[in-house]
């Protein structure tokens, strides 16, 4: 046999190989692109410090210190701040998606790989947030095990939001548009209990803030990390938040997973 000829592969790659190959490339791209690495970290730390030191003093969170109120929320919503949509739009722009769609790969596995990579990158951001949080006074008040469970929930929320970002990236049409569309999720973050207690909002807004996914997710992480005081402040039990957060996560995964897969097939 001539060693200088390539033999066509015997069978196409499976879901796992496809997903991990694309995920590996996306993580490498992130690590080797200082702009991505630094800008993401700096932005989230800046937000943290501004809320902690600029707004924090004016915000009333009852028996809970504002820094303890804030850090679990930032950890829970990291996925909405991360630029997943932009990365997806760039891969569509560059022609990479055309190439991937011309390959004998299971197409949904490409997006699964993207979600895996984005979830890992969001989790990385979450860890930075928590570390900086500790440095500016945040403490766990409910023991080690619930805190680890809370981090697990953060990863789940990251995965759910990664599919929302993938969908936004696929429909945006260009990296620049994706950047703009990313801002469309801001009301979801701000009209929630993430930065201020829902009870401080106008009456008509409270039901919206109370019943949207971010409030459920933020409440879950807060309740697990802070324990009893938060339950009193937020007016619901830990279980109430966990059940809602799980339902919302499942809904985001299913809806945006399906929409993204459909969109990717037809790009």
């Amino acid at each position: 046999m001539n060693t200088n000829t390539i033999v066509a592969p015997p069978h196409p790659p499976g879901v796992w190989i496809t997903a991990t190959t694309y995920a590996g490339r996306t993580v490498k791209q992130f690590i080797r692109t200082p702009q991505l690495l630094v800008v993401n970290a700096v932005t989230s730390v800046m937000f943290l410090l501004i809320f902690r030191y600029v707004f924090g003093g004016a915000l009333q969170t009852g028996p809970v210190a504002y820094v303890d109120f804030l850090i679990p929320a930032l950890a829970a919503v990291s996925g909405l701040f991360a630029g997943g949509a932009v990365g997806v739009a760039e891969d569509a722009d560059s022609g990479l998606f055309d190439r991937l769609r011309s390959l004998p790969v299971p197409r949904h596995a490409v997006l699964l790989g993207r979600s895996m990579a984005d979830t890992a990158l969001i989790t990385w951001g979450t860890i930075i947030t928590v570390i900086v949080g500790f440095a500016v006074g945040f403490r766990v008040h409910n023991g080690f095990a619930p805190a680890v469970l809370a981090l697990g929930f953060c990863v789940l929320f990251a995965a759910s939001f990664s599919w929302l970002q993938i969908f936004l990236g696929l429909v945006s049409g260009s990296a620049q548009a994706a950047q703009g569309i990313s801002f469309s999720v801001f009301p979801l973050i701000f009209v929630s209990s993430a930065y201020v207690p829902v009870s401080s909002m106008p009456g008509w807004m409270q039901p919206i803030a109370e019943n949207q996914p971010v409030t459920a997710m933020v409440g879950t992480v807060r309740a697990l990390v802070l324990g009893g005081d938060t339950e009193a402040l937020l007016g619901h039990s830990t279980t109430w938040f966990i059940v809602r957060a799980l339902l919302w996560s499942a809904a985001l995964l299913v809806v945006f997973g399906a929409l993204s897969t459909r969109r990717f097939a037809k790009l």
């Binding site: 066509a8 196409p12 790659p13 490339r25 055309d98 004998p104 790969v105």
Partner: protein, 318 residues
């Protein structure tokens, strides 16, 4: 030896249509790319070239018609087509943060190679595209031409039976374009069938042994480069007269040299005509024009433009 004897055509399209709103990107395209050949789809911007190659690459589904790639029904079994094609698109779809080798290994794995085979395939291709020395550098340091070569290489790591190249040299400077042509020629020497699109007559001429000219989503002419050029007129003699009142006389002189009526551009005082055996016709033209006492600003011999090929083949500008 003809390995392709009895093989199904590389591409066989019948009555292919695809529309976006009111725009008919493909309007009943019939096309056969014979097995064992390099086929160039030649046409102006918006002719439907990219839509067609995307349909072959299973990136989009035609509205109607049939499309077979090496005998496989691309509409019913796109997943089978993806196992036999390699696509290099208009952009160099390579990742700048990865090295050349990493880019190729990634695509090789996605073709279905295991790790060892993917590394071996990347090695072979890196030599073929002449990037072995730069293999372990990040692509962000590559020139535009190197990126295109790497992109071409990425389409080859799966040993595809059909290579699809969508405007492989668009946007490259002339020197780099010629280098890339050399790479493509070397690769197709191995026997891979190629379907490429281009806006450049010269590129089709350089690379293809079968040319399909399309416009408005339809095929308007097919043939070997020689056949098409003899139909289109190989070279053009072009004159510009000094005094516009002598233009008619110049036109009648020119029309004795070629087989078709000359094209006339009155405001520019210009006339041109396709001729066979250009250089001797040019000296004839200079002599006769001098005999008639017509004063010229300019006279020259040049390749027909894509517009003129269209005009010659269809009687209408593109």
């Amino acid at each position: 030896m003809n390995a392709s004897a009895g093989s199904p055509p590389t591409i066989e399209a019948v009555g292919l249509t695809k529309h976006y709103g009111d725009v008919h990107a493909l309007a009943g395209l019939d096309l056969v790319a014979p097995a064992g050949s390099v086929t160039a789809i030649l046409g102006p911007n918006g002719a439907g070239k990219t839509t067609f190659i995307k349909a072959v690459a299973t990136l989009l589904k035609p509205d109607s018609g049939t499309l077979k790639v090496v005998g496989i029904d691309a509409i019913a079994h796109p997943e089978k087509v993806r196992r036999v094609i390699g696509l290099a698109g208009q952009n160099a779809a390579v990742e700048p943060a990865l090295t050349g080798r990493e880019n190729l290994v990634m695509i090789a794995k996605l073709f279905g190679h295991d790790k060892k085979a993917a590394n071996a395939a990347a090695d072979i291709v890196l030599h073929e595209i002449n990037l072995a020395d730069d293999a372990d550098r990040a692509v962000k340091g590559y020139s535009g031409g190197m990126r295109r070569r790497l992109d071409l290489g990425a389409s080859l790591v799966g040993a595809p039976r059909v290579l699809l190249l969508d405007e492989p040299t668009t946007g490259l400077d002339p020197r780099t374009r010629i280098d890339l042509w050399d790479s493509i020629r070397a690769l197709v020497h191995g026997g891979t069938d190629v379907l490429l699109t281009t806006q450049y007559l010269e590129e089709a001429d350089q690379l293809a042994d079968h040319i399909v000219i399309i416009d408005h989503g339809r095929v308007i002419a097919t043939g070997t480069p020689t056949e098409l050029k003899s139909r289109a007129g190989r070279d053009m003699i072009e004159v510009r007269v000094r005094h516009s009142e002598q233009l008619d006389e110049a036109v009648s002189v020119l029309s004795t040299l070629g087989t078709e009526a000359p094209r006339v551009d009155v405001p520019a005082r210009r006339a041109s005509i396709p001729v066979v055996d250009g250089s001797s016709r040019l000296s004839d033209a200079i002599r006769i024009i001098a005999e008639h006492g017509i004063s010229l600003d300019d006279i020259g011999l040049r390749q027909p433009t894509l517009d003129e090929v269209f005009l010659a083949l269809t009687g209408a500008p593109s």
